[in-house]
Assembly symmetry: C2
Homo-oligomer: 202 residues x 2
């Protein structure tokens, strides 16, 4: 019996998906929204976490680290994510968080069951249709520092506020923003934020 924790923010969809998974032997399924997932990992002790990368607000980055807490003793759960090829930033973060399974939300639900079974055996499972997303993730042109600047800008901070937060000069932050705008192929700063948010980078 594989113990699966399903992580998805919309209760209505999550309950139906959990019920459907329970019909697929041998799965013992619990479910939770992203908020509260860390506590549920500790109390339920799943073999596998199956998590939707899209958060309730449709933007922002889910707290993937909550699903694989370090140093709890014992093996952390294997991670399967439900993902979209057009959000490479989230694919990259999931890979960095150690996800073993990548299921395309545009695919069939049977793929999710197969992925859960694979990662429970600690075997990798990747939907081919996500390939282009991984390619885009690999080609991500922004540096880590540029991403920090962009994240603050996307959260609504002004150039001066970003400079203050990151201990940089106003001119340096302006230069970073110009470089970000150029590299993302955007028309201006607002457009760069729109593009990067849509792709799941910030």
């Amino acid at each position: 019996m594989i113990r699966v924790l399903l992580v998805h923010d919309a209760c209505l969809v999550r309950s139906v998906l959990a019920e459907w998974l329970r019909g697929e032997q041998p799965l013992d399924v619990d479910d939770t929204p992203w908020r509260g997932a860390a506590a549920r990992v500790r109390s339920f002790g799943p073999d596998v976490c199956a998590a939707d990368l899209d958060c309730a607000d449709g933007q922002g980055v889910p707290p993937l680290g909550d699903l694989c807490p370090p140093g709890t003793g014992g093996r952390p759960p294997a991670l399967v994510v439900l993902a979209q090829a057009n959000r490479p930033g989230l694919l990259k973060r999931a890979a960095e968080a150690g996800a073993l399974g990548f299921v395309d939300k545009a695919g069939s639900p049977d793929r999710l069951v197969r992925a859960i079974r694979s990662v429970a055996r600690r075997e990798r499972f990747v939907d081919d249709s996500l390939g282009f997303g991984f390619l885009k993730a690999a080609q991500m042109p922004l540096t880590r520092r540029e991403l920090s600047v962009l994240s603050l800008a996307a959260a609504g901070a002004s150039i001066a506020e970003i400079a203050g937060s990151l201990h940089l000069s106003y001119g340096t932050v302006r230069n970073y923003m110009a470089s970000i705008t150029r590299k993302t192929g955007a028309r201006n700063r607002v457009d760069a934020i729109r593009i990067s948010r849509g792709e799941g980078w910030v």
Copy 2:
């Protein structure tokens, strides 16, 4: 037998939800992503469209008008939407599109079935937990013109481009942006866009 067209962008979730609804007699369920929904309404001729207001990209506004095409002869389908209280802009658009049913995605799936049955009888169905969202929708402070300016800005247009599109002067668009920033309680233009997108206004 009620003919239901389920509209949701993620195929994986949509298939499971459609299968679950088919288990609830007397529902005859077909399903589609937002893209292609207009054609499916014509070919399937549903009594009820049940549509998730959140699009695949997690932002932007779904084409609600596609579900209730005018002048097709016969009665257009009744509309139920799956919604979130924290996206008042989408609630308002659904109300304007003539939706009869409003189901909270944070609630139980049984509510969706009840809503479908209600609106099939052309009776209104509204989840109480969405009340605060409707209140926020009613309190929306931006004018129609300000929303047009904001939509273009959110799509990445510069002040000059917005002025060109709307046949306004540069200074007028700047004044609109300042007024939008003040009314939304934002720190600056980028922050105003972030807030408005999150709430589903643009």
